[in-house]
């Protein structure tokens, strides 16, 4: 069941680089990351690639396979024809460090700007009581493995480097949604979502949802509800009036 596949891998760093072609054996059941590792072990010992768990749980091996943002460990070779050339490139949205490894510090900088979780006090017996139905929405967003593929595919920053200043990207918009829907969190994050994290830049074209390896419905369950919550506060004249005369809408 072994065959020789043609791989084109981007090799280089910030100063330049290009696609290099390799012929490499592929065995049954393998994924793209296995093939990259075989290249590393046999033909290109210094081929840089970031990876950890190799089971789709840590979100380290993000790259673009045939132009599509993917986790290399979850891209089975059986999805390609044997004579198909497989092109592997680093995530385009982030500065490249070397080969397939990119500098994802943009994401860590944005993460640090998210206002921290502020819990309400515990119950008298020292427990927090929350019903399953109340935690489920935020739990969906907490499945995020921070592979940053949604950040990579989002055209707001992918095609417009300058927007990185004003737009936090889908990953952090769902983080804000997670906190805003969190049954224990005592902070209102709607103003910050719009003003500091650039929620309005999202034009809900849903590429983040398409690319998410965890199957999180970023757009439908996170970003759009967050936009609607912002509308409650900023664009709904009734609640706006309500907030002006001191009555906050019940949540």
């Amino acid at each position: 069941m072994t065959y020789d596949a043609t791989f084109r891998v981007w090799r280089g760093d910030a100063s330049g680089g290009d696609l290099q072609t390799y012929t490499v054996p592929v065995n049954e059941g393998e994924v793209v990351l296995d093939v990259i590792h075989r290249l590393q072990a046999t033909q290109a010992g210094d081929l840089a690639v970031r990876w950890n768990c190799k089971a789709g749980k840590c979100g380290s091996c993000s790259a673009e396979v045939n132009g599509r943002p993917r986790l290399m460990c979850l891209t089975r070779m059986s999805t390609f024809a044997e004579d198909e050339t497989v092109t592997v490139t680093p995530m385009r949205t982030f500065p490249v460090i070397r080969d397939l490894v990119t500098d994802v510090s943009f994401n860590y900088a944005k993460a640090a700007q998210v206002p921290a979780f502020v819990p309400r006090p515990r119950d008298e017996d020292g427990n927090h009581r929350m019903q399953q139905v109340d935690v489920e929405r935020s739990q969906e967003f907490r499945k995020c493995i921070e592979c940053f593929l949604c950040q990579d595919t989002c055209h707001v920053v992918r095609d417009h480097e300058e927007n990185k200043q004003v737009f936090a990207g889908p990953r952090f918009l769902i983080r804000l949604a997670e906190l805003d829907m969190h049954p224990l969190d005592a902070q209102d994050r709607r103003a910050a979502a719009q003003e500091e994290f650039g929620l309005g830049y999202c034009n809900i074209t849903k590429c983040c949802t398409e690319v998410c390896p965890e199957g999180i419905h970023l757009t439908d369950n996170g970003i759009i509800p967050l936009k609607e919550r912002v509308v409650d506060r900023r664009y709904d004249p009734l609640t706006w009036l309500g907030s002006k005369i001191g009555r906050r809408p019940g949540r």
Binding site: W10, G12, A14, G16, G17, D18, E64, N66, G67, R68, P69, E84, T87, T89, R92, T93, F94, P95, V96, T102, D103, S105, Y108, Q131, V133, D134, H155, V156, R158, D159, H160, E161, E162, F167, M181, H182, G198, G200, Y201, C202, N203, I204, T205, K206, C207, E210, V211, D220, I224, P225, K227, E228, R229, V230, V231, D232, R234, Y235, P249, R251
Partner: protein
């Protein structure tokens, strides 16, 4: 470099500004090998076809009533100049204005500001982006942060208006259980067409993201509002098919109108069930 710690001296971090972003030098606009342009193309063709047809029919100002059926493009008919016995006929406008024009803004508004249609036309018309991981052609991008696109946020008001219209269209379908003489106990293919169309339009409106938010999505403690939680669960299930409802209801509206058009123009004869 990737760190949350202060950087030491002597570590050169590449520039981060536009033009010097330090990204991998890949010239191709996309390396996708599939036919990514098919989807936006189909969307564009379908939307253009609908808009052309709807515009023609809205301005035609004729063939929109064939007893007991009224075209959904012309209902609710606000002008007394409407053909036939229609609802609610509130005022009299100039004859050269088609009665469709008065109400057109509402169905147009909900679809234009709909979260699904936004995705569809941003992708297929504005190419922003044409498909995932395919570079868009624009130099700058400000999304929905400024005029006019910031007005997308009024979606929920169009939803309210659309729900009112949905009720009227449903009422139209009920009236279609009368025959030409106004006697109850009739049903023709036209009745069925109007009824199906009214139901699909309802499903489209109810499955809307704003609706989902309003019925319960804005709550943080579902467990304290069990009834609203059930509404929310119901709307959430519909919402998962919002895109399908958007397309199907758009076609059903056009087909319902076409059916009435053909009846009124005496091209076809209504099939009568009883």
């Amino acid at each position: 470099m990737t760190t949350t710690a202060p950087r030491g001296a002597g570590t050169a971090a590449p520039g981060r500004g536009t033009g010097d972003s330090g990204r991998a030098a890949i010239a191709a606009r996309t390396l996708r090998t599939d036919r990514w342009w098919v989807q936006p193309l189909i969307t564009a063709v379908a939307l253009v076809a609908f808009v052309v047809y709807a515009t023609f029919r809205a301005f035609q100002n004729a063939y929109y009533f064939a007893e007991p059926y009224i075209s959904p493009f012309y209902s609710p008919c606000l002008s007394t100049r409407c053909e036939g016995d229609t609802f609610p006929e509130l005022f009299t406008g100039p004859t050269w204005i088609s009665p469709a024009i008065y109400i057109l803004v509402f169905p147009l508004g909900i679809r234009l500001t709909c979260y699904y249609y936004r995705k569809a036309y941003y992708r297929s018309f504005w190419l922003s982006p044409p498909a995932c991981a395919v570079a868009e052609p624009h130099r700058g991008y400000s999304g929905e942060t400024r005029f006019p696109l910031v007005f997308q946020n009024v979606h929920r008001y169009f939803l309210y208006a659309a729900l009112v219209i949905n009720v009227v269209l449903f009422y139209d379908a009920v009236l279609a259980f009368r025959d030409e003489t106004g006697a109850w106990g009739h049903m023709g293919l036209g009745t069925l067409v109007l009824l199906v169309n009214a139901v699909l339009l309802f499903l489209y409106s109810l499955s809307c993201h704003s609706c989902r938010h309003i019925v319960g999505g804005r709550l943080n403690h579902f467990s304290r509002h069990p009834v609203r939680y059930r509404f929310w669960t119901f709307v959430s299930r519909l919402n998962a098919r919002h895109m399908q409802y958007a397309w199907v209801s758009m076609f059903s509206v056009a087909l319902a109108d076409l059916y009435v058009f053909l009846l009124a123009a005496d091209v076809i004869v209504d099939v009568r069930f009883f």
